[in-house]
């Protein structure tokens, strides 16, 4: 294919990605090295606010941003190098905590706390999703033809449901005296509070993620199972291979590209875990890297936002994803060069 034709085909898609993804990304990268802030001046301000019946007026010295002649806030932008990264990483405190051997102190630093949760969330749910997906696919494949349709339909539900609503629906089942907590309490004959400590919330979040993603894995694997080479299966049976051996030596290798595909998607999606934090309102106990970025980014009630730290933390998150993906990317590289 000539380059010109190639460019014509991919042009629109690449243009959209450049405009809406690459361009913002570059500006985020740049912002992580600069700090932009308004120039404040001290002004005495008298403010009168309503009480229940009468007003109270106070005069205070406040920092007000200076405005230019168009009424816009004057800002100054300063190159700060890696300062924002240092502010996010808090290496000094982290090192102090580690050399004192205190894991609790280390885990009270936001970035490391978020990294710990994000990594464990990603690495624990990954095998669970693959195994659950594979298991469900094999079981559907075992079932009689008549029930396969309805079963696939039900299996797909957790995947298609709007994530915000899926997380809430699981949240309600367990929160306070939600019916599943009540059932557990009745069964174990003791008081249970699922949202009172970090580990139970983490389990709930992981359960939700596996519940949400396993159906997708299952359906992809099920599709893969339909194309398993029947001849090699038969010859394996003739050779006396057990069911387990057939799964291990024929089916799984056949599904390997799909397993890699699912792993890749899952790594990317779970590394940026965010909806769970909001949906289960777990901020008091566990936070994730994307939540940290988001928290820097949203303005507080007085309109301050930490753009520079948000950019730095976003870049750090990206580096993490890139590192996780390296082994999978190398595989893609080999495939690409090995021809299709």
């Amino acid at each position: 294919m000539k380059f010109k034709t190639f460019a014509a085909f991919i042009g629109p898609s690449v243009f959209m990605m450049l405009l809406f993804i690459a361009f913002p990304l570059v500006s985020v990268f740049q912002q992580s090295f600069y700090i932009t802030q308004p120039i404040y001046e001290l002004v005495d301000v008298e403010t009168c606010t309503p009480g229940f019946l009468t007003q109270t007026c106070v005069t205070e010295t406040q920092s007000m941003p200076t405005l230019d002649e168009h009424g816009e806030i004057i800002t100054q932008t300063e190159f700060v190098g890696l300062q924002s990264y240092r502010n996010v990483l808090e290496l000094g405190r982290a090192w102090e905590a580690l050399s004192a051997g205190s894991w609790t102190a280390f885990q009270s630093i936001d970035f490391w706390k978020a990294l710990r949760f994000t990594l464990s969330f990603t690495l624990i749910t990954l095998p669970l999703v693959i195994c659950a997906g594979l298991g469900i696919a094999v079981m559907i494949n075992n079932a009689t033809k008549a029930v396969r349709g309805p079963v696939i339909f039900i299996s797909l539900l957790p995947f298609i449901i709007t994530p915000v609503i899926g997380a809430l629906s699981i949240n309600w089942l367990f929160r306070g005296d939600g019916i599943l907590t009540a059932a557990l309490e009745w069964y174990l004959q003791r008081d249970i509070a699922m949202f009172a400590q970090a580990w139970t919330i983490e389990i709930l979040m992981m359960f939700y993620r596996v519940w949400h993603v396993a159906p997708f894995a299952a359906i992809v694997f099920y599709a893969g199972l339909q194309t398993v080479n029947q001849d090699s299966l038969e010859s394996a049976i003739i050779d006396g291979a057990s069911r387990w051996q057939r799964l291990k030596y024929i089916i799984i290798p056949h599904l390997m590209p799909l397993i890699v595909f699912i792993s890749m998607i899952h790594l990317m999606d779970s590394y940026r875990v965010f909806e769970e934090i909001v949906g289960f309102s777990s901020q008091g106990h566990v936070i994730s890297l994307q939540w940290l970025t988001y928290d820097f980014l949203v303005p507080d009630q007085a309109g301050n936002r930490s753009i520079s730290r948000a950019s730095a933390s976003a870049m750090l998150t990206m580096i993490g994803i890139a590192l996780l993906l390296v082994p999978l990317l190398r595989r893609t590289w080999r495939d690409h060069h090995g021809g299709h």
Binding site: P50, F195, A198, Q301
Partner: protein, 402 residues
Amino acid sequence: MKLKTLLAAGVVAMSSTAAFAGCAIENSVPLKSLSAGFEAWKAVTDAMGECGNFEASLDQEFREKQPEAFAADPSLYHIGGVANATMIPLLNAGSIRPLDDLVAKYGQNLTPNQLIKVDGKVMAVAMMVNAQHMMYRADILEDLGIAQPTTWGEVLAAAEKIKAAGVVEYPLGGTFKTGWNLGEEFVNMYLGEGGTFIGEGNMPTINNAQGVAALETMKAMTAYMDPEYLVSDSTYVQQQFQQGKIAMANLWASRAAAMDDEAESQVVGKVVMAAAPNGSAAPASSLWWDGIVFASNMSDEEADAAFQVAMEGIDSEMVSANNDAAVWLIKGYTPGKLATGAAATAANGALPYPASGPMGIMHTELGNGIADYLNGAKDAATTLADIEAAYMTAAKEAGLVQ
């Protein structure tokens, strides 16, 4: 001539009664508003909508959108709904206009108490106040012979008795959800201890005996609360009350009406509204107001129309139709027994929420940092020191501290 105009106006009014019922003027300038989405705003914007040509955005992301949208030229919205704290960024950026002449022209029905003045200029028109105050189950306290608690010491003692008697699942409720809610609880407690948040040069001043006392009271409360307190927001506490699971809570005045809602409450008539308990110095509560601001970046005709429509939105008719939706500051409001808590709290000398730019950062850091203390990961002094350090980082980045 005059008669003719009147007649013409009458015909127009007749022909459009359906659309403009309840609004004295007919608005011809297209107007838009952006505000938070709770019941009171819904009532007010519905009343504004009766004047025609008006679109309201009740948006939970309004805090994020408002500064940008009002700074655009022309402003994307004409009318904004703000509270003490959310007015700060608009005020700082000069994107809301002084209202003195408009108030003089169309504001006959406003009381002086409603006019929010900054440096003598009216910058916003308040419509309601809100504060956290004590709500308690009168039946339970009476049965156990407990008098209405007026200090946090008494509240904790009462909680102990209720726990010992085992009448309810948890004696206390609290809006301790990590983030803004938890920050607000500390702000109340710390004000009750007589503390100040920000000192000279915008330096933080919370790491002191008063801060520790505030934290210790909060921790003492958690012993009597649902162990899932870090996820409980106002709606959750309200439900706990309605289902009879808690006996006392320092809850928002705007939630009072829900206690007596027959459709969902099992404790109708049993919950009494009282003043917020005192800390060692003052009531452990802060007064908030919600009000209306107008964009700078719009034409004077638009401002005229917007102000008139807004006045229709906060008139006595709206109040009489929605009397219990909030503690209104508007003429025509009859404070019922649901408002007694807020009134008593203000009368006891509760301070207004100390809204300012640095306070915004402080509130966020408090909301994120206190959970570590309640979880037992840090002691009180370390928690406060870490919050101050986090405040310093953010304030330096914002340019508030050199």
